[in-house]
């Protein structure tokens, strides 16, 4: 267990009585980057929220271990303090709460904050902006990556870092993400896999209907999805069921 930074054992989760994750098993060894694919509504973001311990995501069964410790019942902030950093897909705008306030909470090093701003090509004026309020799609992604960098956790979760980002910003983000993930563990959630051009992922998993249905080489799985869509996964599942593998 100690070689894996994250272990999810048979995790089932409900939101408002509706099952969103169904017996998820996942192991991510220290220093590895894994990718999670899945169609819309398959439970990818629900898995992120469950890993963070958001109260609306009620764990019906299963356990989550981080760095060998059972974190299933820990509050979100304690999980974050243990080293989980997350870039959200759709973060809320918070009026009056400045991006700078959050960054300074994540790191007291002002010089480092300025360096990180330069890295994602954000002007310093963004420190005084209400977080996510009036941000463009690209700015939201940069702001999220910036917060992940400032936190500097050992395990990074990026939820759709490439969605809604133009080519220029994708290049900036991709370069920064690639740099950030060196010698770190991560779970990258992506719908279309564009971000994979920039990162070196070890293993990919496909989540369908709240369950991880297959795992394999990221390029191979992405190639199949791009060629045949997630219908390929459904066929694959059917074939495995027929072979009594599922």
């Amino acid at each position: 267990m100690t070689d894996n930074i994250l272990e999810i054992h048979d995790l089932s989760v409900e939101v408002s009585g509706k099952r969103v994750l169904n017996g998820v098993n996942l192991r991510i060894p220290e220093g590895e980057v894994h990718v999670l694919f899945g169609p819309n509504g398959s439970g990818k973001s629900s898995l992120v929220m469950s890993l963070l311990g958001f109260p609306a995501y009620k764990i019906v069964s299963g356990r989550i271990f981080f760095k060998g410790k059972d974190i299933t019942d820990l509050p979100t902030d304690e999980r974050v303090k243990m080293g989980i950093s997350v870039a959200f897909q759709h973060p809320p705008a918070i009026r009056g709460v400045k991006l700078g306030q959050i960054l300074r909470h994540l790191t007291p090093d002002e010089k480092r904050i300025i360096d990180l701003l330069n890295k994602v090509k954000f002007p310093q004026s963004f420190l005084e902006r209400d977080v996510n309020l009036g941000f463009s799609g690209g700015e939201i992604k940069k702001s999220e990556i910036l917060q992940v960098l400032a936190h500097g956790g050992d395990f990074i979760i990026l939820d759709e870092p490439d969605s809604g980002v133009d080519v220029e910003n994708l290049r900036i983000l991709g370069t920064v993400i690639n740099e950030t993930l060196r010698n770190r563990s991560a779970l990258i959630i992506t719908h279309l896999g564009v971000i994979l051009q920039y990162i070196d992922a070890k293993l990919a998993h496909v989540l369908m209907n709240g369950t991880i249905v297959c795992s394999g080489l990221p390029t191979k799985i992405l190639g199949q999805i791009l060629n045949e869509g997630y219908a390929w996964c459904e066929k694959c599942i059917q074939a495995r069921i027929e072979r009594c593998e599922l």
Binding site: R95, G96, H105, Q147, H151
Partner: protein, 407 residues
């Protein structure tokens, strides 16, 4: 023709249109006479309370100071650098010095509006007169403190502020009381005259007690290209507060903005609003209101935009945050356009602390209580007041200390 006094006498029993009706006779009119003295010679507890409403004893930080305790003017001064640029004196001195001042007396507020305007005329105690002379840009804020040191006192003040053409100034007025004072009634009439091309920012901070009543009455006239920004901040419990200041944009391109941050605690009954009347071409107005209610506080947040000219625009934004089930916020935005071409808009929203926002901040390592405090603090973001950085920092510090301490 009736005099102001006659009209006041006829209105002395007239209840206000809004807010609980008070029996003025239950308050005392007797207060000891305070001798004039230097601010630094005032008792420490008075200075501390003054500081809690932004009034500092360090005169170097202010262009001018006016300090009144109960019915007595105890200190007024203008820094040397601002001599011949501004005038600061008691209203009674100004009325005897300037015959023309009667042209500014009860011109933006009706003397017979209600029993509170009436009592301010019939039993005027004091108040201040501030005048920024033509084309003078006053870089440091001016400050005034209206202090109550006697329990159950009725204090009636009438202030007149004139920003002469081309002038610019920031004024901060703090109204508060001695820690031993619990009850009382403060009636404050303030009339603003913002002349052609002048810019005036006025910030009023109230810090009263749980059994205290306050009835400010304000009016403003803004001339061509004049800019008037009025900020109101109240973040301590009190028994009742009712105010509905009005600004008349009479000149071309006159601009006005009312900002208010009100934090209702305990059993506070707060009825605050702002009204803007756009009367000439190019006039612009904005009302930004933030109301937070907790415990059993009742807050009515009013806003009224009235356009009487086609080429005018105004916007009203009222946001409320409810922190307790026993509290109540009632937002009442009103828009009235009397001519075609006027653009009046509003948005009003009342809600509780967003769980999604709390969780987001917790995912950034804040504890739940830290996240909630940050959201409340953000809701009362003083940067909406448009103040100089040091003044903004002072007010933010007060809000942090008082409001967030309760969380």
């Amino acid at each position: 023709m009736y005099t102001s006094k006659d009209r006041a006498l006829r209105a002395i029993n007239k209840p206000s249109e809004y807010g609980p009706d008070l029996d003025i006779s239950q308050y005392s009119r007797e207060a000891k006479v305070w001798e004039a003295c230097l601010l630094s010679n005032l008792p420490k507890d008075i200075l501390e309370r003054a500081l809690s409403v932004g009034v500092t004893a360090d005169e170097k930080e202010r262009a001018a100071t006016y300090f009144q305790i109960d019915h007595s003017l105890i200190f007024k001064a203008i820094q040397n650098a601002f001599e011949n640029k501004i005038e600061v004196m008691s209203i009674k001195e100004a009325l005897s010095k300037y015959d023309w001042l009667k042209e500014y007396w009860w011109k933006t507020v009706e003397v017979d509006k209600d029993k509170y305007t009436a009592i301010a005329e019939i039993a005027l105690d004091q108040g201040y007169f501030i005048r920024i002379l033509e084309d003078q840009k006053v870089i440091l804020p001016l400050q005034a403190c209206l202090f109550i040191s006697t329990d159950n006192l009725n204090q009636n003040v009438h202030n007149i502020i004139i920003a002469e053409p081309g002038s610019e100034a920031q004024i901060i007025t703090g109204c508060t009381l001695h820690p031993t004072v619990q009850r009382g009634l403060h009636v404050g009439i303030t009339e603003f005259y913002v002349k052609r091309d002048a810019k005036l920012t006025f910030t009023m901070i109230h810090n009263w007690a749980q059994k205290f009543d306050s009835r400010p009455r304000s009016g403003a006239i803004i001339e061509d290209n004049g800019v008037f920004v009025s900020n109101y901040v109240c973040f301590k419990p009190l028994k009742s507060l009712q105010a509905y200041p009005v600004a008349y944009c009479v000149g071309k391109n006159a601009r006005v903005r009312f900002n208010s941050i009100v934090y209702g605690l305990g059993d506070s009954y707060i009825d605050v609003g702002s009204k803007i009347v756009l009367q000439n071409e190019g006039c612009r107005g904005e009302i930004i209101s933030r109301a937070i209610a907790r415990d059993r506080a009742q807050i009515y947040a009013r806003g009224f935009l009235l356009s009487e000219h086609g080429d005018t625009k105004a916007h009203l934004e009222c946001r409320g945050l409810l922190l307790s089930n026993g509290a109540m916020i009632h937002a009442i935005p009103e828009l009235v356009a009397k001519v075609q071409g006027a653009e009046l808009t509003h948005e009003a929203a009342i809600g509780k602390i967003s769980e999604e926002q709390v969780q987001y901040l917790m995912a950034r390592g804040f504890s739940r209580s830290e996240a909630e405090a940050l959201i409340v603090r953000g809701f009362m973001d003083v940067s909406i007041l448009g103040l100089p950085k040091d003044l903004e920092k002072t007010i933010q510090g007060m809000i942090d200390a008082v409001a967030l301490g309760a969380l």
